[in-house]
């Protein structure tokens, strides 16, 4: 086992020797003699090339940009590579490399060409047309045509994908007049659908391999065949997943690296150590703790970025159970929202990896977000909160206590515990006596989403690229679904906000849509069924021997097709 690992790692080292210097320092000192010989060999070549003139130097640097093995650390361990069946972070990190989507997105979430070189949506919002590139191939050499796209959306994504049935719910039929043209006919306009064509959200699968088979039990689940930048080679369970460059990738000259290796390490301290030593080059989405990311950032060979999560719009909040006292009272909810010092929480609990949240829609979604809502992040938050509690009729008793509550903590790690401790001591100053409760994940989920046996809990949800996909589920009355997790746990809804969401969901005009969502945000923030704390900025750590690592709002869940040696 360790032999194979060593080999993979050492190959990545040797290929980089010609072009980098600072990495050398970061390599472990205890290298085998064979590695040493390889290294000197490669260095010798560089010297020779450098000696033969300027043109050759340019050639050498171009050559240095090509090749290399990127070792990607995925946390937690990858269970399967079937990204058409699961959208969980390890599955997507493991499998997305093999697939392409119709579109890509820039950091402002505007669609960009990918498999589709052009696209258009009719004015009434009922037809979407995509024009595919010519000559796209799957990894097995079979051409990718409109038939594959139709099959993928109708038979795979709409049937077995976790979010597909929602994203493509309005798609009635798909026409494929020729091999390059895909026409989606919708029942109602679906403006959010245009955010759902990435390789992560909607991977295009090969019809000729999938058709007529049991989709939940395919050999291609763990040996993916797609049209993505990297071709699956092998998966040694418990050791590594290996992808090689796909030579017939539709983007010429991409990817520049030869090989992508994915590993998982259970222990977080070890994960940090292997990044430090340069044995792995990339990790994100909780791969290293926030506090370690701060320390790693100071190392010369590592970069830490918070880009590449724009498509997830993850938010941390306090969710009130509005079904019973005291949080059935809007003023009490607002008081708690006023009492929180969001920036302090970001700085001290999340190590600055966050941005103050103002309401239900993440500020990433620039065209729909508004900051013109009631602002709870104010300097005199405590006074405002005390005043609201007085108005709500919760007077302090002789001990200065207004009422007692139990605060449930999100059982996802240390920062949630620290956050809970902060909430406890902060609410103490309002005269709210807090008892903290920390349970395992299953118990906590049952308590919040099935038994509704809680008062206030910390929580987090991905808002994704469009409110219909990620935001409605936390506020719509239809999303109060007992037993379904990560939906509307607060139990709050109102006919007005329901209608605004329904209307905005089928509104093709972007300006009108933004107005509907503005009103929605103002109403929800006023009612405060949730006290929004911050938008998490996950750290991604990568070795700077590679460049252009994070080039899409999907970050490490994107294609990683632009990455190259520095």
């Amino acid at each position: 086992m360790s032999r194979t690992k060593n080999k993979l790692v050492s190959q990545s080292h040797t290929t980089t020797k010609a072009g980098t210097d600072s990495v050398l320092e970061s390599q472990p000192l205890h290298r085998s003699r064979r590695d040493f010989l390889k290294t000197t060999g490669a260095a010798g070549v560089t010297i020779l090339v450098a000696g033969s003139g300027l043109a050759a130097v340019r050639e050498a640097s171009a050559a240095a940009r090509k090749g290399g093995t990127l070792v990607h650390l995925i946390q937690p361990e990858v269970p399967t590579l079937a990204t058409y069946l699961s959208t969980s972070s390890p599955v997507s990190q493991g499998g997305t490399r093999a697939y392409s989507g119709l579109l890509e997105y820039d950091f402002d979430l505007n669609p960009q060409p990918s498999l589709a070189e052009s696209w258009s949506v009719s004015e009434d919002g009922l037809t979407a047309q995509f024009k595919l590139r010519k000559g796209i191939k799957f990894h097995d050499g079979h051409p990718l045509t409109s038939a594959d796209v139709k099959y993928t959306i109708m038979e795979v994504l709409k049937q077995v994908h976790p979010r597909g049935p929602n994203s493509f719910r309005e798609v009635q039929e798909i026409e494929t007049p020729d091999e390059q043209t895909v026409i989606l006919r919708l029942e109602h306009p679906a403006p959010y659908m245009m955010t759902a064509f990435s390789s992560y959200e909607s991977p295009i699968v090969p019809k000729h391999l999938f058709e007529g088979k049991d989709l939940r039990n395919l050999p291609y689940a763990n040996a993916p065949v797609g049209s993505g930048p990297y071709k699956f080679v092998e998966w040694k369970r418990g050791q590594y997943i290996r992808y090689d460059r796909f030579d017939d990738y539709y983007k010429a000259d991409m990817p520049a690296i030869d090989r992508l290796v994915q590993r998982s390490i259970a222990d977080s301290a070890t994960r940090t150590a292997v990044l430090e030593r340069g044995e792995v080059h990339l990790t994100g989405f909780g791969g290293v703790p926030y506090s370690d990311a701060v320390a790693l950032e100071k190392l010369p060979h590592l970069e830490v970025t918070t880009d590449g999560y724009e498509m997830f719009s993850t938010m941390v909040w306090l969710e009130f159970n509005t079904r019973k006292a005291p949080f059935d009272n809007q003023k009490v909810r607002q008081a708690v929202a006023y009492a929180m010092e969001r920036q302090w929480i970001i700085d001290n609990v999340w190590f600055r990896f966050g941005k103050v949240a103002t309401g239900p829609i993440n500020s990433n979604i620039k065209h729909l977000y508004t900051s013109e809502v009631r602002n709870y992040e104010v300097a005199d938050g405590l006074e405002k909160a005390n005043q609201l509690l007085d108005e709500a009729g919760y007077k302090r008793n002789a001990d200065g206590v207004r009422f007692e509550i139990t605060h449930d903590l999100t059982p996802y790690g240390e920062e949630w515990q620290r956050f809970g401790e902060y909430v406890k001591q902060r609410l103490d100053r309002l005269g709210i006596k807090v008892t903290l409760r920390y349970e395992d994940v299953a118990t906590w989920l049952r308590r919040i989403y099935t038994d509704y046996d809680f008062q206030v809990t910390s929580n987090w949800l991905h808002g994704f690229a469009d409110p219909v996909i990620g935001v409605h589920r936390a506020y719509h009355s239809r999303s109060i679904r007992q037993g379904t997790v990560f939906v509307n746990g607060s139990g709050w809804s109102s006919p007005e906000t329901d209608k605004l969401m329904d209307d905005a969901g089928v509104e093709p005009d972007p300006k009108r849509r933004a107005e509907l969502y503005k009103e929605f945000q103002q109403l929800v923030v006023e009612a405060s069924p949730i006290a929004w704390i911050h938008e998490i900025k996950f750290p991604t750590v990568y070795n700077n021997m590679f460049s252009d690592v994070i080039t899409s709002p999907l970050g490490i869940l994107g294609a990683l097709d632009r990455v190259h040696l520095s």
């Binding site: 506090s291 001290n348 903590l409 240390e414 515990q417 001591q425 103490d428 409760r437 920390y438 395992d440």
Partner: protein, 275 residues
């Protein structure tokens, strides 16, 4: 009693241990006076180094580490004492009956005891706390549940040895009630090994509680040394005092209890007394 002190003080370590332990007990009792208010309340900037504005510095949320230590002493000692009393109580009853009656009663009670003894104790405690939820009562219960079997076996052995002594047989002949014989005649004679083992058990209980809290299974509403180490572990490289100070507190307390236990052993052990 005078004799007892003489024997106890002959062991220098035990005297030092007793001094340290007394200090910890005093700190625990006066915690509310020295650091009034909630030790979870943040009092200053996060990560203030020790021996500055705050004696032991502040932690990641700006909480006073010294306040945590003093309030944590209360938690640790309380948990140690209550869990030990519980464990020793259960062990005395079960071990006493098993040792006194023997036969099938002994068989049944000992098989039950061995059943508990074969489960790795810390893992068993983890499971119990995970199932019962992390509240201080449940933690005490879990610690007692994993520490009673060894004491039970000790008590049983002592009772078996006493059972056939002449004074016990005399009581039986006199027609004395079994319960009276067990509690009034045998128990006082087996008390010294139980006290010694019990005193060492307090140290074990403190360690188990710290380990549980370290793994995030402490009561989140109660300040304890294990909790402080667990919360500070992430910052070992940047803020050493978050782990080092509560670590030293645990070390000193556990060491002191062990030394006192040794001293008690010297003072109470009848074999030494006869030498």
């Amino acid at each position: 009693m005078k004799e007892f002190w003489k024997r106890f003080s002959r062991n220098k370590g035990a005297v030092i241990g007793l001094l340290v332990l007394s200090l910890v007990v005093i700190l625990a009792i006066t915690a509310g006076f020295i650091f009034p208010g909630d030790p979870f309340q943040s009092v200053g900037k996060p990560f203030e180094p020790p021996f500055g504005e705050f004696l032991f510095g502040t932690d990641t949320l700006g909480r006073d580490v010294a306040a945590g230590i003093v309030h944590g002493a209360r938690t640790s000692l309380l948990i140690g004492l209550i869990a030990t009393v519980l464990a020793v109580g259960v062990a005395t009853i079960i071990g006493g009956f098993a040792g006194y009656y023997g036969g099938w009663i002994d068989d049944i009670l000992m098989r039950i005891t061995e059943f508990f003894q074969t489960i790795p104790s810390f893992i068993f405690a983890l499971v119990l706390v995970a199932i019962l939820s992390a509240q201080i009562e449940n933690i005490v219960f879990a610690i007692a549940a994993v520490t009673w079997p060894p004491i039970t076996r000790l008590v049983r052995g002592e009772f078996m040895a006493m059972r056939n002594r002449e004074f016990v047989q005399a009581c039986v002949v006199l027609g004395m009630n079994d319960l009276l014989i067990i509690f009034r005649e045998i128990l006082p004679n087996t008390l010294s090994p139980i006290i010694v083992t019990g005193s060492l058990m307090v140290a074990t209980a403190i360690l188990i509680e710290s380990a549980l809290a370290f793994l995030g299974l402490g009561d989140p509403n109660v300040m304890s040394w294990g909790f402080m180490i667990g919360a500070g572990r992430t910052f070992l490289r940047t803020a050493w005092w978050l782990c080092a100070i509560p670590g030293i507190a645990i070390l000193l307390t556990v060491l002191a209890i062990n030394l006192v236990g040794e001293g008690l052993n010297d003072a109470l052990n009848p074999r030494l007394r006869n030498q």
